[in-house]
């Protein structure tokens, strides 16, 4: 592996020890990237004000400074194509600024002003709040059923914890947030004591010193912020079905709490297992092969051992979403409903449920098999080789390189990508199989399904009563499928799932 890449680039990436600064010096780059990360996130939202951290961060980012209105800033940076914005997750908020070095010193007063003296104008706040309210009230339910089911799974996993509500909050929480709350939250949750500065590019030591001094002038937090709470342990398989109008498919997410994160060395072994089972958007993973490729059921099927941001849009994982409260999940992209299949194929006119129950059985059965039987040496070697090369693609741009270094910092590591490669190199198939047995199981899971109203009741009954769920292929497909697949289908349709609870929720009742 060492010989694979040529080694002509002289760069260094390190985490400074003195101040909380992550540096990535890139002498040849004309781009300067600055990231200011605060360890707060939606878990630090005060009770009853769910969404306040996101609203605060966005009011800073989309508002003005003491010296400039938001419109003046847009005017100023327009010809430079400078970019900035904030991403808020459960445990962090990260402001990212990118500018060509030609304009760094002109841009810097804006960076400094936004972070130290945000304007918090009433009209900026009302615009941000209105958009946030709109998202939690309407957009999340009506834009992407698969993203919706991911959010409702988290709601289920973390119910009655400070991790439950969406980063954007919920209907009542956002409604409760005032501009005074935003000002107070800025003082209480965005300080120098929970801040990490990140910088990448060909900056000068003097500039970095100035940045450190200025950002250091943020106040030290007076009180500690809430600690991220852990996911609930389900009792058996607990299902929540969200019924909505005119859903063409059933979008499924399932998961359970996971005790380890990138902080643990064993995570590397679990990465190999997960890559084999359900690497994100890769046709060579087991779930994809079984459900999409062999059975034509949907667009893709993947598994995760940590949060994956905007999976529908990203082929590679994005940095900036580090989490200490972790869970395993399986994402089954929308499968057909009975209503849809009946409309498409006359021969399926008598079916009562679509493909969601079968797909779930198939996925859980595959997971059971790999936990029980372990990976073969051959699969292990191939997957390990793949991951060690593939992970080098995670951080192709300076912004992503810096992002991954800052995430590493969150997890108490210096450079997780680098360290993972070393850990993967020494991981054995026995380590992988032991990690699966230690951390994975399928007996206790939460399942969230967003589906058409017509599918909800029959699907709930099928799951609750553990009824057989034969695959309903169209004649045109059934006629060409191999006997092996049809035989396996017979086993899958009766695969027992110990469902202990099934609840149907109206879409309008989610995220209240």
């Amino acid at each position: 592996m060492k010989k694979i890449f040529s080694l002509i680039l002289v760069l260094f990436a390190f985490v400074a020890n003195a101040a909380d600064v992550v540096e990535l010096k890139l002498p040849k780059s004309d781009l300067i990237v600055i990231k200011i990360m605060f360890k707060n996130g939606s878990v630090s939202d005060p009770v009853g004000k769910d969404g306040l951290t996101d609203i605060t961060a966005n009011t800073i980012s989309e508002g003005g400074t003491k010296d400039f209105t938001s419109a003046q800033i847009k005017d100023l940076i327009y010809p430079w194509a400078a970019e900035y914005g904030v991403s808020v997750d459960k445990e962090v908020s990260i402001f990212t600024f990118q500018v060509h070095k030609d304009h760094l010193m002109k841009f810097y007063p804006i960076i400094k002003g936004l972070m130290l003296n945000p304007r918090f104008a009433e009209d900026d706040f009302s615009r941000v709040k209105s958009n946030e309210q709109n998202y939690v009230d309407e957009v999340v339910r009506s834009s992407s059923d698969e993203e919706y089911s991911k959010m409702t799974l988290e709601d289920l996993l973390f119910r009655r914890t400070n991790y439950q509500h969406m980063v954007s909050g919920n209907s009542a929480g956002v409604k409760n947030c005032t501009l005074e709350d935003v000002r107070a939250h800025y003082r209480n949750a965005f300080g120098n004591s929970n801040m990490t500065i990140g910088i990448a590019g060909n900056y000068t030591p003097e500039f970095l010193a100035q940045l450190k001094t200025d950002m250091g002038s943020l106040p030290t937090l007076k009180s500690p912020l809430p600690i991220a709470q852990k996911a609930r342990i389900p009792v058996g398989i607990e299902v929540e079905i969200i019924a909505k109008d005119n859903a063409l498919g059933s979008a499924v997410f399932t998961g359970f709490p996971l005790a380890i994160t990138r902080s643990n060395d064993e995570f590397a072994a679990l990465m190999i297992a997960n890559s084999w089972l359900g690497e994100h958007r890769k046709s060579y993973s087991q779930l994809y092969k079984k459900i999409r490729e062999q059975r034509s059921m949907n667009y893709g099927d993947y598994s995760y051992i940590e949060w994956y941001q905007s999976g529908g849009q990203n082929m590679l994982p994005r940095p900036g979403f580090p989490r200490s409260s972790n869970y395993f999940s399986i994402w089954l992209r929308p499968v057909q409903t009975a209503k849809g299949l009946k409309g498409q194929y006359p021969e399926l006119s008598t079916i009562e449920i679509g493909h969601a129950h079968f797909a779930l059985r198939m996925a859980i059965r595959e997971m059971d098999k790999i936990i029980a039987n372990g990976m073969s040496q051959e699969d292990f070697e191939l997957t390990k080789t793949f991951l060690r090369s593939y992970m080098k693609l995670y951080a192709q741009t300076p912004e992503k390189q810096l992002g991954y270094l800052m995430d590493s910092h969150f997890y108490g590591r210096k450079d997780w990508l680098l360290e993972s490669d070393a850990l993967l190199a020494k991981t054995t198939v026995a380590d992988v199989n032991a990690a699966m047995k230690k951390y994975w199981q399928t007996k206790n899971m939460f399942i969230s399904i967003v589906t058409d109203r017509s599918e909800a009741v029959p699907l709930a009954k099928s799951l609750r009563d553990n009824l057989p769920s034969p695959m309903s292929y169209s004649n045109v497909l059934r006629g060409v499928l191999s006997q092996d697949i049809l035989t396996e289908d017979k086993e899958v349709e009766n695969y027992p799932l110990k469902v202990t609870k099934v609840t149907i929720l109206e879409s309008a009742d989610t995220f209240k």
């Binding site: 529908g312 070393a422 060409v480």
Partner: protein, 450 residues
């Protein structure tokens, strides 16, 4: 072990070369583009870039939903892209998957109006294997009827997941209304009835492969830690025997639109949307209309524009507003959309957009604003050229519209030379009522505005 960690640290840090945007008089792309045409017509493009150990390998096929000329075959170019992952005699599906996995590359494909793009970014030392895998499937694709019918279900699954979005629903309806003859009438995904019927089109799929998967439709582009001589040698070795085809799609010309058209999606409890879709020119290497339209859209609808400041920041009637034209081979659309706070303001917002457009037809753009818009384009481009993948994406976007990678540099020369008069000219020529399709989303039963 320590030595190995140091080594890996160096391997992980790449992608730092970037242009100095001050060099605005030279090519926008600060890296030479090497082109080499094989006797079979396949163009091989290499762009060396300082990304140690890393290369992006793109095959741009100039076939997309534009080429779906037969009734009942909408969505087929995209479906065929799926079939390209179903193996060959030498590399049947399972073997192909394992071989691809062993490269450790990020590999995928996507389809649009005018092209199908196959891409792999990965270890530059694995390029020989990547070329072998790609050439094999481009020349020798072979799949069973079972694989074909099974893959059709995955495409239906893709339609199913997309259909949850009201924006996707509106896009499908809007194209159907805006065009009456040209194949831009349907989206790349295709009409649902055609998607459901795809399993029955096995024979047609073989015809599709024969027509379009030929060297004259393809351009190979490699960006990264590579030398053109080595890439040319790989192309000759693996693609040299690819036989030339002779098929040319006959695509109907869209008749001139004569009146404003309307379409609507009724969705209660969703942010109302008004979208103004004007017929726009095709992108041509030597024609400055599209660059002028891009600058016009930036001046009128960017976040620094007067309209944005009025509707989004001050009055807060719109949540967002934006406008842009698509670079396409045939005349397509320039689209201006605003997401609204309240549907009752839809007519007002539409009127405000039209007022801004009318003003742009008769008032020359302020010299500073025009210079700022040009500066923004250059710096935006420069800042985005920070990885082999991003550079390959940018160059390929020009390859599929013109066939010539150098048109990326030409385009920015044209941007530099656009005058205020050019901008008024395109506003007057294209932003007209008889070229307009108004598409809306709201809880109303039909389009609530005129």
């Amino acid at each position: 072990m320590k030595k190995m960690i140091c080594l890996l640290a160096i391997m992980l840090t790449f992608g730092v070369g970037m242009m100095n945007a001050q060099q605005s008089k030279g090519n926008i792309l600060p890296y030479p583009i090497y082109q080499h045409k094989l006797p079979n017509g396949l163009n091989v493009v290499t762009v060396p870039y300082d990304s140690p150990g890393l290369a992006a390998f793109y095959v741009t096929m100039r076939v997309g939903s534009r080429d779906e000329v037969e009734a009942g075959k909408t969505g087929f170019a995209h479906f065929f892209e799926h079939m390209m992952f179903r193996g060959t005699e030498k590399y049947p599906k399972e073997k192909y998957s394992d071989a691809l996995k062993a490269t450790g590359a990020s590999a995928n494909a996507n389809t649009s109006l005018d092209r199908t793009l196959y891409h792999m970014t990965g270890n530059a030392a694995m390029l020989d294997k990547m070329f072998e895998l790609e050439s094999d499937r481009f020349m020798n694709l072979k799949y069973s009827e079972q694989d074909f019918k099974t893959e059709a279900g995955a495409v239906k699954g893709e339609y199913t997941k997309n259909s949850a979005s009201p924006y996707e629903q509106l896009d499908e309806k809007m194209n159907d209304v805006a065009f009456s003859k040209h194949t831009y009438q349907h989206t790349t995904m295709g009409f649902f009835k055609d998607v459901v019927d795809m399993p029955n089109q096995y024979v047609y799929s073989q015809e599709f492969f024969k027509r379009f998967y030929k060297p004259e439709y393809a351009t190979i582009l490699v960006v990264g830690d590579v030398k053109p001589e080595a890439i040319n040698a790989l192309a000759e070795k693996y693609f040299g025997m690819w036989t030339k085809g002779d098929f040319i799609s006959t695509i109907q010309v869209e008749p001139t639109q004569t009146e404003t058209k309307y379409t609507h999606v009724q969705v209660p409890n969703f942010p109302p949307l008004v979208s103004l879709n004007f017929k726009a020119p095709a992108f041509k290497s030597n024609d400055n209309e599209m660059p002028a339209l891009d600058l016009l859209n930036s001046i009128l609808f960017s976040e620094k524009s007067d309209l944005y400041n009025k509707l989004v920041v001050k009055e807060q009637k719109a949540r967002s507003i934006g406008g842009g034209a698509t670079n396409s081979r045939d005349p397509y659309l320039s689209q201006i959309s605003a997401s609204l706070v309240d549907a009752k303001d839809m007519q007002y917002v539409k009127d405000q957009i039209i007022t801004a457009i009318e003003k742009a037809k008769t008032t020359p753009a302020d010299a500073t604003i025009l210079a700022d818009a040009k500066s923004r384009l250059r710096y935006s481009f420069a800042m985005g050229m920070d990885s082999p993948t991003n550079i390959a994406e940018a160059i390929s976007s020009y390859i599929w519209v013109t066939g010539d990678p150098e048109s990326i540099n030409n385009a920015y020369v044209m941007y530099d030379n656009i005058t205020a008069q050019d901008i008024m000219n395109v506003a007057k020529k294209y932003y007209i009522n008889t070229g307009l399709t108004i598409a809306t989303i709201s809880g109303d039963a039909s389009c609530p505005i005129k």
